[in-house]
Symmetry: C2
């Protein structure tokens, strides 16, 4: 019998947050690539671009004009996917039938906002100083509280989804550093499934006495992510960056789908949302966000494209509420081999199961091996 060797043998891993699997084919990076390559990203942008929708003082589509902001700047998306209007009514069928269960419509509402991260057109999160990133975290928190209160007032059990699409390859329509916040009158599928798995597994899986060093929720039990993050810090092999002072860790999850996927989360205490972060934790978050993104950019010496999103309590938690959520950021970057060769999650991945070509441990090792200083700063 051959003993199992994850860097050699095809295998499946289980994602306890989504309940799905990933097929890992570590031997597959050897194949040559003859398929589509991506356009190189223009390396240097002006600090102000008069054609940019997001630069201070510029006109946006729809006749709006941006203020001459010198900090972050949040405004309603001019082409929102959700509208705030009161919900339309579905007229019930006069002749209801069991087949109707296959045609389920549910009107929804919400608001879509854009957050400009910085007045400078040419900056990215990776190239800002931590104090500038702190300002963005403070703005996320302000919008989360504002939008959450609004949703509660309207009687919606909603969700506030904060995310960033970075780079044209990830559908970002402008290079100006910005993210988005969509607030919804419902809890969407991804966080819904995560919250279900967090609440069902936390009570029994991981509460044996030998794990007593894990952080815990208010009820004294570690949640799935409390145990997972603390255990990864012990095991070390998947860690990309750590901020010991504030207790944040960034790592390639054991079940990562994307080649260089990262999850960033607190490992010393159970923190449900942005609302509960101390000043030290906000500062640490700014530092580690920069560290991760610098490593991303340095990997292939390019502005690394990704989608990033924040999962936390659906709405800013009230004192009385349970603390199922454990705040975390997902980073899903598409690149696989170089600045121009991406991973395609297509045929097999869409029809059957997601598949990856290098192990998460190998990906973490590569991200640890690059320099800590941003490549553009080294070239000066």
């Amino acid at each position: 019998h051959v003993p199992f060797e994850p860097t050699e043998h095809p295998h499946r891993r289980f994602n306890p947050l989504t309940g799905k699997h990933v097929l890992v084919s570590p031997h597959r990076t050897k194949r040559p690539w003859k398929g589509q390559t991506e356009e190189p990203v223009i390396a240097s942008l002006p600090s102000y671009d008069k054609e940019c929708n997001l630069c201070p003082g510029n006109e946006r589509s729809g006749g709006f004009t941006n203020p001459k902001y010198d900090d972050t700047f949040t405004f309603p998306n001019d082409y929102p996917a959700l509208l705030p209007e009161s919900l339309p009514t579905i007229v019930p069928s006069s002749n209801p039938s069991p087949i109707d269960s296959l045609f389920q419509n549910q009107p929804v509402r919400g608001r879509c906002k854009v957050i400009c991260f910085h007045p400078r057109h040419d900056l990215t999160l990776a190239r800002m100083v931590p104090s500038e990133i702190e300002r963005i975290i403070e703005e996320w928190k302000r919008v989360y509280v504002d939008e959450g209160e609004q949703l509660r007032k309207e009687g919606d059990e909603g969700y506030v989804q904060i995310f960033e699409n970075r780079g044209a390859m990830m559908g970002a329509s402008a290079p100006h550093p910005h993210g988005q916040v969509w607030s919804l009158s419902y809890i969407p599928d991804e966080p819904f499934t995560e919250l279900q798995n967090l609440s069902s597994s936390s009570s029994y899986h991981l509460s044996s006495p030998s794990q007593s060093t894990y952080p815990t929720r208010d009820d004294g039990h570690p949640c799935l992510l409390c145990s997972y993050a603390a255990e990864e810090v012990k095991r070390k092999e998947r860690i990309v960056a750590i901020d010991e002072e504030s207790g944040w860790v960034g790592l390639v999850p054991f079940w990562a789908t994307w080649p260089y996927e990262v999850i960033l989360l607190p490992y010393k205490r159970h923190i449900p949302s942005l609302l509960q972060l101390t000043q030290i934790e906000i500062q640490g978050l700014a530092r580690i966000l920069k560290k991760i993104l610098v490593r991303y950019d340095n990997l292939f010496s390019c502005p690394f494209p990704y989608s990033m999103g924040l999962h936390q309590s659906p709405l800013p938690p009230l004192k009385s509420e349970s603390d199922v959520a454990h705040i975390h950021f997902h980073f899903y970057p598409p690149l696989l081999r170089s600045a121009s060769v991406r991973k395609f999650l297509v045929g097999f991945e869409m029809m059957a199961e997601v598949q990856r070509d290098l192990t998460p441990e190998q990906a973490a090792e590569k991200l640890r091996a690059v320099e800590e200083i941003h490549y553009t700063e080294r070239m000066d």
Copy 2:
């Protein structure tokens, strides 16, 4: 109260096959697009390309040489994601702990094959004649039976996944018409979930006497897809193509994620797999595959990129087995507005929930409105 209008009001729809939702934002197609555009596809290819890995008589990577085939041609993928070797053994931990449930590894095995659809380098399914497509269906069936028997012999409860990545945008590394077959020692997530939903819902949802016109399984009940397909044929609004003689329908499903997603399935009888198709049904399938793909290419006058996959019984069904599966093809094409502007399923879609910009009914209408003759044939 405003009555609900699906072409105006943002809403969610439920996908009973996956148990997930899609956010529909029909008003959102109005936004201008300033983001990434795709490279135009070279319109005319030579019928033979000496650089192509897949053309008859050519050398492939790894030193293999293709025969001078004049039909379909199937060979093992030179860079397979799965290997056929016997499974390695995981040495159980000497100190098992509840935390191990968060680090679940499962060695898997399988075989990856490539099926060249035609000796001609420049053809696509859309431009073949139905008798040529019939040959491909026969080859799918042969490989399905072969691979299925092999899996059974090895004692694996596996799955044979047939799919095609068409176009560089969908990760196809060669334009030569070809598809793939991956056979696996396990049932992957997507068909696993579908089969679960097919078997649980079929018994109660849709078996009221008023639906007695739906086709049924052997146990006398219509399955979810028996009822769904037959009902869509009645409702007509989402149909793209229909072959009445053989009982196949292609339609944009009510819960479609991709702008022009299509599901193709039999609506007159419950058919678990390729194995049960009559000669008439195979001929009808070839005709309707062509019809759908011609409409795709004509929509933006380009070789329409897509991933296509076949869901059916995991292995060729034995007589004694239950017939939960209802054979169907999924088509997931990325284009949204033109040959060069795709839909990005990124930030919000990855972190929260998939989202679409036009309704499935509008997409079906656009696909019905194009010509029936392929645009390259009309230009002659």
